[in-house]
Amino acid sequence: MFRAIAATQWKSTRTTALLAAVAAFSLPIAALQAARGVENAQMFINIVQGWSAGYALLAAGAGLLLALAAWGPDHQGRHVYALSLPISRSRYAMLRFGAGALFIGPIALALFFGALTVIATGAIPQGLHAYPFALTLRFLFAALVAYAIFFAIGAATTRTAAVILGAIGALLFAQFLLYTLDVDFNLLERVGELIFGNPGILSVFSGRWTLIDV
């Protein structure tokens, strides 16, 4: 059953997965290219780390698109296919979840090979070190977190999605009210700290993503 689900899901996902894999492979190489020929080690590190956001964005984007693609056929077919299968809804959801998560693997692998290519060029200045395993692992976890969040939202009913959107809207409105009432309290900042600070749901995205460091 899993193989059949994965095969059908691959059809709706392959373009996204392949494009993300190409981007993941290219990112470390592009960072190296940008840093090539700089005057000293400190500048090299600064430039390479300037590309940190790229890894985080790619992980988030890949997770989002793969999650949307996982539920896409079901949403288009109004879930008739799922209802016609002789398995429970929860098992079906887990099969979809597993199949989608599987496709993150090749993207992370592409990033790993991109990082290895950077090392193989020998262009890393003396005294600096590359951390391909740690970076790949973080990318994998970040992409899986993003995928899991959007998969859960995709699996939810329209009402749940409306509740989530409503909560975000309420948060923005509350911040606006605090601002207009001249209350010195940054609600969005606090919420941001909760989400991005450890152990927040998006904490894996925050901080430095370093392929090359001392």
Binding site: P125, G127, L135, V145
Partner: protein, 370 residues
């Protein structure tokens, strides 16, 4: 007009005009007025500092070993525990060198600061000069740890100021080390060496101990322009200095320098020696002493401060090792210390797994019915 006359006229127009005597007088007057303003500002500052003098007779005396503190009664216990901690932490390394503190008095007093519609209590910590002025007062919150750290930094600053000027100038720091260096310091030193504008630092990184001694200032350089830099670097630095409007550089000589004349580049840099920074940050010199603390064991800083001599002789006394051995150890640490990647940690992995499972569980429990 003949071409020779036209040329002479053009040259005359192109030459800078001599400054009129009247203009020079004007500049002199301006300079005099600026000097007067500077004298006025200095006098005003001194008057202000003198006005800040306080009567410390009603303050409590806190004496911990060689450390003397005047504290307001309310802050007596805070000053006592801070001083206890400072002396206890410095005694093993600084030993009898702490006796230099006997001639110095610190003050710990409270200060009310208006914050909006309420008064907030802070602590002022300073050294008291012989004339009663508070030197470099620091205002901090009344917490034991913070008061202790400020007292520690002021103590180390005072101990350094009691040594000879050659050592103070060489160390080029406001304070002495209180502890061994962190691994982050060695990593920063590596970046320093590799990112230096001077080739002597990179030679040091490659293992040339003599170059390390020059880069660290242990071997004084008679001619830094030639000792620190390669010909290409000399040319590059002339270029950089030439771009700075505040550097007066002989443009014609600079042009010859760019053309490949290294002697001209060197001459230009000799004339602008004050614009050449040290090959690596002088902070690295403190790290030598932090390393000496490890090698020399207890009393290392006591020996360093009580030894009369060059910085190298102080370092050798502290570490009980030849200077080259200390430099070699320093270089080994700079080259070999590694840090774990900041990308991944077990906490990040565990947190991520937790959220993935949580979101998976939400999807698992989602309804079949839309």
């Amino acid at each position: 007009m003949s071409s020779a006359r036209a040329l002479a006229l053009l040259i005359a127009l192109g030459l800078p005009q001599p400054i009129a005597a009247q203009k020079i007088r004007m500049y002199e007057q301006r300079l005099d007025s600026l000097a007067a303003a500077q004298r006025f500002a200095a006098a005003a500052r001194q008057a202000y500092e003198l006005a800040q003098r306080r009567d410390y007779t009603r303050f409590d005396s806190v004496v911990v070993g060689p450390m003397r503190i005047r504290a307001t009664p309310a802050l007596n216990s805070l000053a006592q525990s801070g001083a206890d901690s400072v002396v206890a932490s410095l005694k093993p390394q600084y030993g009898r060198a702490l006796d230099a503190l006997v001639g110095h008095v610190f003050v710990v007093r409270d200060e009310q600061v208006r914050e909006g519609d309420r008064n907030a209590s802070y602590v002022v910590i300073a050294e008291v000069a012989a004339d009663g002025r508070e030197l470099e007062p620091q205002v901090v919150v009344p917490e034991v740890g913070i008061v202790r750290n400020v007292l520690l930094s002021k103590t180390l600053r005072t101990l350094l100021a009691n040594t000879d000027s050659a050592f103070v100038n060489w160390l080029h720091s406001t304070s002495l080390p209180s502890d061994t260096a962190s691994s982050q310091a060695w990593l920063q030193a590596r970046i320093d060496l590799l990112s230096s504008y001077a080739i002597v630092s990179r030679h040091c990184y490659e293992g040339d101990l003599a170059a390390c001694r020059v880069a660290l200032g242990l071997t004084p350089s008679r001619d830094p322009v030639m000792d620190w830099l390669s010909a290409a670097e000399r040319r590059q630095i002339v270029h950089q200095l030439d771009d700075r409007y505040w550097v007066r550089m002989d443009r014609e000589a600079a042009r010859i320098c760019y053309g490949g004349s290294d002697s001209t580049c060197a001459a230009l840099l000799h004339a602008s020696r004050e614009f050449l920074p040290d090959p690596i940050a002088t902070l690295r010199r403190s790290e030598l002493f932090q390393l000496a603390m490890v090698s020399g064991g207890p009393g290392a800083m006591e020996r360093a401060l009580l030894t009369r001599g060059t910085p190298e002789q102080r370092l050798v006394a502290a570490a009980r090792l030849p200077a080259d051995s200390i430099v070699r150890r320093w270089l080994t640490l700079v080259r070999d210390v590694r840090k774990p990647s900041e990308d991944m940690s077990p906490i990040v992995a565990a947190t991520s797994m937790g959220w993935i499972l949580f979101c998976g569980a939400l999807a698992y429990r989602s309804s079949r019915w839309r």
